[in-house]
Amino acid sequence: MNTGHKHTGDGDDHKAAPMVEEITDYEVLEIAVRELAIEHGLFTAEDHRRFTEWAESVGPAAGSRLVAKAWTDPAFKARVLEDGTTACKEIGIDWAEPTGVGTPSDYTNFLVLEDTPTLHHVIVCTLCSCYPRPLLGMSPEWYRSTNYRRRLVRWPREVLAEFGLILPPEVEIRIEDSNQKCRFMVLPVRPEGTDDWTEEQLAAIVTRDCMIGVALPRPGRTADVHPIRKAGRPVERSPQEGSAAE
């Protein structure tokens, strides 16, 4: 959401962060349809504000914290596996937000799937891309794609290989298709070479892809990197010339 801050003009010699200086039809469309929806009584401005603020508040850092804490605190890990929803409160995440009964997409039944050296979980929602947003934030576009959702259940090893993850045949790959109200996250195996690490250091290598199950955490790997495919069939587009005064 934050495209930058306007220069305050207070005399400090700091540069303003860049902003997109034009009004796009997409921006205009989103506002227009929202205003009409509110006027038609489909929802209230107050409810919209509450859900928008919630959407801005969630991100994968919470999931990383949960995994790091589970790795370093066996009693916490046991609580996580026993009742994931309740254990989340210990790391500051309340699945009941923002309505008191959760959101209409995330509900309040959070289960953590524990990997072992012979069992690797990977998560998908073939129906519609359900995702544990209170722990991981908004789902990545590839997770929402029909490509991932159709192919992972049929050819999991091929799809994981495209993410750079190849597992020996002896390892059981267990796909979790989250088609109902449970929401899932993977608790990966703690990697070698991290014995004396702090929770912060551990959290830094637990990326979103590790918690979905398409990557394994390892020392030095602090970002998810994969080809960005933004459209089903992207066309050659060059930035439009011309003014913003449409």
């Binding site: 034009e22 039809d25 227009a32 349809v33 929806a37 919209h48 859900f51 929402r144 459209a231 089903g232």
Partner: protein, 117 residues
């Protein structure tokens, strides 16, 4: 409100015009040196989807099914999240939750308001 669960894949002139302006975030953000991966309206769009689901106007599964169909056809060339916005408005128009003429008119008003800032 329509109770059909079928998506009408006919192109909608107003939405085609939005797409043809060509100002998707992944094109314009680099032009201004903005590194944020998401446009500023993305979380507002998410909020709107949640509200429509809670109120029963557009359940999440219905919306996602329509988004899948439209994303594989009419809006296949559009990157996310613009594709999600167009698909949402498309299905809202299909179901009579908003009317194209009203939406076009409101867009003109909103644009004038934003340009005056």
């Amino acid at each position: 409100m329509s109770v059909t669960n079928d998506v009408d894949l006919s192109r909608i002139a107003l939405l085609e015009a939005v797409h043809h302006q060509g100002k998707e975030w992944d094109v314009i953000a680099p032009r201004y040196g903005v590194s944020n991966p998401d446009p500023p309206w993305k979380t507002s769009l998410i909020g709107m989807c949640e509200c429509l689901a809670v109120g029963g106007s557009l359940p999440a599964l219905d919306r996602r099914r329509a988004e899948d169909e439209l994303g594989d056809t009419v809006y296949i060339e559009v990157p996310a999240p613009e594709r999600e916005l167009l698909a949402l408005v498309h299905v809202m128009l299909n179901r009579g939750l908003v009317v194209e003429r009203d939406l076009a008119s409101r867009m003109r008003t909103v644009r004038l308001r934003l340009q005056a800032l």
